[in-house]
């Protein structure tokens, strides 16, 4: 039997974007667990701990993909707003998590993310000042499609999903 999951596609918004580089998947999982325990107590922590994991973390854009059992994803989701800082090896990084999309499979989240990033690039194009920047963004816009983005990371996570 296949266990159904929910995937939460989130965005890490930090006060200073340079700190993104120091964040690892372990840090995020630890902080999310803490937040669930704070808001929903022992029951919530236990219910969400069953299959809670970070499937994908992009340190350049701050996008992360959280997985949770379908029955309890609302416990996870309702505790995400209470995260105000990430504890990273004794360092406190003020941040918050903004949910972009909730999906049943990684694939739908991936599709959404590509669409979202395309929009982001269009926004960048609007604010361009010179022609060289504009051309660079146009190139990257044309290059992004579902096929070309199937990096090893995504293939890996897909295999896990099928198991």
């Amino acid at each position: 039997m296949r266990f159904k999951s929910r995937y939460l596609l989130c965005e890490l918004v930090l006060e200073d974007p340079r700190w993104r580089q120091n964040i690892s998947q372990g840090t995020v999982v630890y902080n999310v667990r803490e937040a669930i325990a704070r808001t929903h107590g022992d029951f919530g922590a236990a219910a969400c701990a069953v299959s809670l994991s970070v499937k994908y973390l992009n340190v350049y854009t701050g996008v992360l993909l959280l997985r949770c059992r379908k029955d309890f994803y609302q416990l996870l989701w309702s505790s995400l707003p209470f995260i105000t800082s990430l504890d990273n090896r004794g360092q406190r990084i003020p941040c918050f998590i903004n949910t972009l999309h909730v999906g049943g499979t990684i694939r739908t989240c991936q599709k959404f993310l590509i669409q979202y990033n395309k929009n982001q690039l269009l926004q960048l194009m609007k604010n361009c000042t010179n022609a060289a920047e504009k051309e660079a963004i146009r190139q990257s816009l044309q290059s992004c499609s579902l096929k070309s983005l199937e990096e090893p990371e995504f293939v890996l996570s897909k295999n896990e999903e099928n198991e």
Partner: protein, 265 residues
């Protein structure tokens, strides 16, 4: 799909900070925000200041995430009322309150809460979330408020900041929900920094903790806010019945059915 609205961004002197907050709101997907001017009476004769003008803040307004329209900025006045005389500002047709798009009142006592629900001309009633509710919410005033189309506002920033405040917020929200059954509730941020804001979908799930159902919680950040804004607009019109549009040729056609409706009710 309804658009998302955040009706409470705290006004501060620091223009840069305010700009940051509004940019963040646009990034999170809010289409309309209201800058909140809190006004507390200290001496008897105090004039309500003019709202901050949006043209001074931005030369070009930031674009809303996922849409191609610029963000809309409204102004809001919140009066902290601890004495009945404080509400006189709202009763008279004073020119200072007319400058604001939305008028809210923060009643400190049960009597004032009753008055705010039944007689004072406001759009929003703020619910105290930072301490234990000083009075019980009773059914008659709240029903009267729902009848008049006044909305109750819950602020979520204190809940994010601190664990004790979170308990007060949730318990006060639940005791309110017991009476009003999820009707006429709006949830807004009350943010003082950009990092205290949350995305609209996150707030909708946060509503589950406040005892709202999924659909109602989503309405609390979208459609209910829109009704509150429209309720504020009616103050600027004649008796709140006739709404004039700038296009002169359409005015006659539109004014007639509205009048007929008013006669019937």
């Amino acid at each position: 799909m309804a658009v998302f609205v955040d009706l409470n961004i705290t006004n501060c002197k620091d223009v840069k900070k305010l700009q940051n907050m509004i940019e963040m709101a646009a990034h999170l997907g809010y289409s309309t925000v209201a800058i909140n001017h809190v006004f507390e009476f200290e001496s008897k004769k105090m004039e309500i200041g003019k709202p901050i003008s949006t043209k001074e803040l931005f030369s070009t307004l930031p674009t809303v995430q996922g849409k191609s329209i610029p963000i809309k900025i409204l102004t809001r006045l919140t009066i902290i009322a601890s004495d009945p005389s404080h509400c006189n500002v709202l009763r008279s047709t004073s020119p200072s309150t007319r400058l604001y798009d939305i008028v809210a009142v923060f009643p400190k006592t049960e009597k004032l809460f009753h008055a705010a629900c039944t007689s004072i001309d406001v759009d929003l009633i703020c619910i105290n979330v930072t301490e234990k509710a000083p009075f019980f919410f009773r059914r008659p005033p709240i029903n009267a408020a729902i009848q008049r189309g006044i909305f109750f506002e819950l602020v979520y920033t204190p809940a994010i900041k601190d664990s004790t405040l979170r308990r007060y917020t949730i318990s006060n929200a639940l005791s309110l929900m017991q009476v009003c059954k999820g009707k006429n509730i709006i949830i807004s941020s009350g943010a003082e920094r950009a990092l205290e804001m949350r995305g609209p979908y996150d707030i909708a799930t946060l509503g589950l903790l406040f005892g709202l159902t999924e659909g109602v919680a989503k309405a609390a950040v979208s459609t209910n806010c829109r009704s509150a804004v429209l309720h504020g607009e009616t103050r600027k019109t004649a008796f709140g019945v006739v709404y004039t549009v700038k296009k002169t040729c359409l005015e006659e056609e539109e004014a007639e059915p509205v009048c007929k409706k008013a006669k019937k009710s």
